[in-house]
Amino acid sequence: MSILIDNNSRIVVQGITGRSGLFHTRQCRAYGTDIVAGVTPGKGGIHIDGIPVFNTVDEAVRCTGANASMIFVPPAGAVDAILEACDAELDLAVCITEGIPVRDMVLARAVQEKSRTRLVGPNCPGVITPGQCKLGIMPAYIHKPGNVGVVSRSGTLTYEAVKQLSDIGLGQSTCVGIGGDPIIGMKFIDVLELFNSDPQTEAVFMIGEIGGGAEEEAAHWIREHMRKPVAAFIAGVTAPPGRRMGHAGAIITGGKGKAEDKIRTLRECGVVVADSPTRMGDAMMEALRAAGMSAAKPAANPAAKQANK
């Protein structure tokens, strides 16, 4: 088991003919991801590396049975791509696109919330279930199959955390980069809920940063509901207070958002917080030990495909 994606995921890439769409399609495929279709309006009928390209997601789903999408459509068309993925009733849409206007995203989120499609992102590295399926732009080689779930608002900092985990023998069940935009699909809690009920996931590492109140919300949810040990890191302890305009931001977060506040709240809720970005792996190990669990070895997963490095 894992969350969101596995060996059985059948992927459609929206924006497959674009430069980064094509590049990452090839990378994901090399990892073993089952990419069954691409979508680029106006280019339906062609094949790319043997992958059939369709004009619409709906058509791609009907012809190939795709159940998850990866979106590389540029900002002006990305919201339409998200709405189309929801309309086609996919299980999951991962939107990599960076720079989508907030006004458009508010509308997209309102539609997506009511659909059966889960959304990860936008402006995120994507999702990977090591050894099985990679749906995103993260470097594959740092990941190892295992039992730690990873959820993060950050991109490259997640790679740093995953590398530290892998280096000390803690493989991952699934890693989810939820993205750093103000309006996103799945939030920390949505991912934590899935990890909580996933049999393969034995512990969770969470990466947050300054700003907003999402880490605090997650902390309180963890205290109430989480049955597995959680460790975390919050970036920005030494970030100077930035210039700001007006009061609305401070009113809405109730003055939260500082790294110290987030770290304190997480610790109060039983989360082991790494005091340095060099000790993220150690913090996970400590949380496992505190929960009476030995450092889990990378899971021998017979279903796992050979990862192509």
Partner: protein, 387 residues
């Protein structure tokens, strides 16, 4: 992207939201003339990209044009340090001269993004003015919040409920309903992530008037508004930050000696955190973007080295699928061009990492390779100590 108070008021006015009579001025003479037009008794307001101006001496009431000129001479060119500017403050280059209004009540209204609900949110309080954040933390019940359904938009009955909760009655209440609806319209059409009126006042004559306004546009939506780039006041931005923005780099100048170049905002912050853990002080925050390429790395390097306070550079690139040899070439190119033989530590991860390291070591630059984040931070602090 931020704009000035006077620009925000002009936009609000275009959405039929009433603002006081006013004029923007760039010289003391212009201030004096504008004050004369207002009849002498008026308010002189420094225009900077931050709030908290009143308490910092940036807003003054004057009674005759000569006094207006004197106040203006004091303000122009002065650096205002307010609670929202950070310690460096912001220089005053523009002044708004505004008619003085007799005020009965001060109200707070704003529309901003609520990340938790993924919606725009209307915030209002009967206790507007400079202490609004204190009101929010001490008496949250005095803050009214409404999340706006994007399908229905803000409805008149919802706006009326807010207006009544603010204690407004009769004509002013209905006026406020119209104002709130227009405020939401403005927020959407102008792609704002913040529109804030604080205070919105009820005048002695029983009218609503915007006394102060802040507006922040969504950077991702600037492409839809051709007029926005021309509205920017570059005097309010750090020159290096402007330069960085041209290359799509996020740069914030800080006061330390170690220049930092990192890909990704989270990793950039974590890098600053770890430097300070080892006793180093970062000279800047610089995010070259998740998928940095050779050109970006080279530009970033130049921007870092333009800061004369920089005495060492720490590069932390977690490339992944980005090729490290290409990144290394970018660094070598930029470093050779600027002819400053500063100590450099490069920590890279990604494909072709060994080739990247070899290129750096054979470049003749004063460079060391950090094997891990901690190792890199330790090395750069040590090299700075020996330099």
């Amino acid at each position: 992207m931020n704009i000035h108070e006077y620009q925000a008021k002009e936009i609000l006015n275009a959405f039929e939201i009433p603002i006081p009579r006013s004029r923007v001025a760039f010289t003391a003479d212009q201030v004096e003339r504008a004050a004369k037009e207002m009849g002498g008794h008026c308010v002189i307001k420094a225009q900077i990209y931050a709030g908290g101006r009143g308490k910092a001496g940036g807003v003054k009431v004057v009674h005759h044009p000569e006094q207006a000129s004197e106040v203006a001479k004091e303000l122009f060119g002065r650096k205002l340090v307010t609670i929202q500017t950070g310690p460096e403050g912001l220089k005053v280059r523009r002044i708004l001269v505004e008619e003085a209004v007799e005020v009965v009540r001060e109200i707070y209204v704003s529309i901003t993004l609520d990340r938790q609900s993924s919606r725009y949110c209307l915030i209002a309080s009967a206790e507007g003015g400079v202490e609004i954040e204190e009101v929010a933390s001490k008496s949250p019940e005095k803050i009214h919040m409404l999340t706006i359904d994007p399908f229905t938009g803000l409805r008149p009955y919802q706006a009326r409920r807010i207006a009544l909760a603010l204690g407004l009655t009769g004509v002013v209440c209905e006026e406020c309903v119209g104002l709130l609806l227009n405020l939401y319209k403005c927020c959407l059409e102008k792609d704002c992530i913040l529109v804030e009126i604080n205070p919105l006042v009820v005048t002695k004559a029983g009218r609503l008037l915007v006394m102060d306004a802040k507006m922040t546009f969504d950077d991702n939506a600037i492409y839809r508004h051709r007029e926005y780039p021309d509205m920017l006041d570059y005097s309010q931005l750090d020159p290096q930050e402007i330069n960085a923005a041209k290359y799509d780099l996020a740069y914030v100048k800080l006061s330390g000696a170690i220049g930092c170049m990192v890909n990704g905002a989270g990793l950039a912050m974590a890098t600053m955190d770890v430097l300070q853990e080892f006793g180093g002080e970062p000279a800047n925050f610089l995010d070259v973007g998740g998928g940095a390429n050779r050109e970006k790395v080279a530009e970033a390097f130049k921007i870092i080295l333009e800061d004369s306070g920089v005495r060492a550079v720490f590069v932390n690139i977690f490339g992944g699928i980005m090729r490290c040899d290409v990144i290394a070439q970018g660094i070598i190119e930029a470093a050779s061009e600027v002819h400053r033989s500063l100590p450099i530590v490069v920590r890279m991860d990604g494909s072709n990492v060994e080739e990247g390291k070899r290129l750096l070591m054979e470049s003749g630059l004063n460079v060391q390779v950090g094997e891990t984040l901690g190792d890199g931070a330790r090395k750069i602090v040590a090299m700075l100590g020996q330099a």
